[in-house]
Subunit: 235 residues, 2 copies
């Protein structure tokens, strides 16, 4: 029996997991070689995680410890399992990782949201759809279908916003250097969110970010690669 | 006699040093507690640094070693003086610092350039002015005065682009954590460039980035604070 559980955002198909924040925690658990099970969770299942004192996933329950918020989970894993591969490369590395965390939060995730939000609503469980549409349309100030209506043009600006990552990844295989660190999983989680929720391709084939994304899709026996739902798979 | 010299971009006033790339190297030398002298250099003094095999500053001459490019200089200092305070917090930290380097290079420095480039030309030595105006006007595709003509409006977008740094600096005193690392000097160099070349204020008073900038202005006995030329000083 595995005594480690992560509450993980699920779509209408209970096996469809697409939260960018849950993906980074999932990759962090794999990086630490920790076994875990996931509990599928929906936006409207606030009661199911009320024990964590708030209403968002990921929530990690590790034996008797309850940890919410993806950054706190990574910090918890690093402190609790110091002999497993490091997520940060030390305290200074953890401090420096904050910048990539905030860049992803304030640039990449909002940028991707504008490109795929109308696809996300389609994959949600029926109970979640009204909640999601209402909260997100309030945020964007327009219908979700209008937010994404010009995405073939807007994607160009989104790609440009990735220049810092692109320039790093032409110089080294991972943001963390020769091997991936939590910084990589932070950014990767955003791409995996789009990949699992939308048919829209964020990058051009020749983008130097693509081989990095491929390496992380292949990591841990292709764990992330296999997660794309069949209806989004192309030849 | 100090056997360590940095070639440093200077204005018409030979004591006015304003290059963002030289500033990060200067702060790195101070961080390492290394004594050094600087040689003032102008854009058109290509011959003076021809010995380095290229035509840009900073160039560091440390005994018999010649190193150019600010990243290479930081890497050289870290490897050569491992017992002095670390600039990166280890190999992983150095890899993670790359992201802040590329963010500053591709977002912050181009953003500031659009706000101050018409002021920079004014502080240059006469021989440099024609060179600077020609190369920069070619880059921007318009007269330098036109580039900055709308800066009171454009600064709003620039400030927004700093969100990742702003969010980190509300959580910790420095990008490097509780004490500054080279990552801080990279970003700080860009602000110091503006501060030493232009009267234009980049940040609002209440910006959480301001106290961080103040701490770095005060570092090393106020080394950077004292560098602003008198004609740009305000009450």
């Amino acid at each position: 029996m595995i005594n480690r559980v992560m509450y993980d955002l699920a779509g209408a198909n209970v096996n469809l997991r697409f939260s960018p924040y849950c993906w980074r925690s999932r990759m962090a658990l794999l990086h630490k070689n920790l076994q875990f099970e996931t509990v599928p969770w929906r936006f409207t299942d606030k009661e199911a995680i009320a024990f964590s004192g708030q209403g968002l996933v990921p929530v990690l329950v590790d034996k008797d410890q309850v940890v919410h918020d993806s950054w706190a989970i990574a910090d918890y894993l690093e402190r609790t399992y110091p002999d497993a591969p490091s997520l940060f490369g030390g305290d200074k590395g953890q401090s420096l990782t904050r910048f990539i965390n905030e860049f992803t939060h304030s640039v990449v995730i909002p940028g991707i949201a504008r490109l795929i939000v109308s696809d996300i609503v389609k994959i949600l469980d029926e109970r979640d759809r009204a909640y999601f549409r209402e909260t997100r349309e309030k945020h964007f100030g327009q219908p979700l279908e209008e937010v994404t209506s010009n995405r073939d043009v807007e994607v160009v600006g989104f790609r440009k916003s990735l220049d810092p990552a692109r320039r790093v990844l032409t110089r080294q295989p991972y943001l963390g250097g020769s091997t991936p660190l939590y910084a990589d999983y932070i950014l990767f989680g955003a791409f995996q969110w789009a990949r699992c929720a939308s048919p829209f391709e964020l990058l051009t084939e020749e983008d130097p970010i693509v081989p990095w994304r491929d390496r992380l899709l292949d990591a841990f026996d292709g764990h992330a690669r296999h997660a794309r739902p069949p209806f989004l798979r192309t030849a």
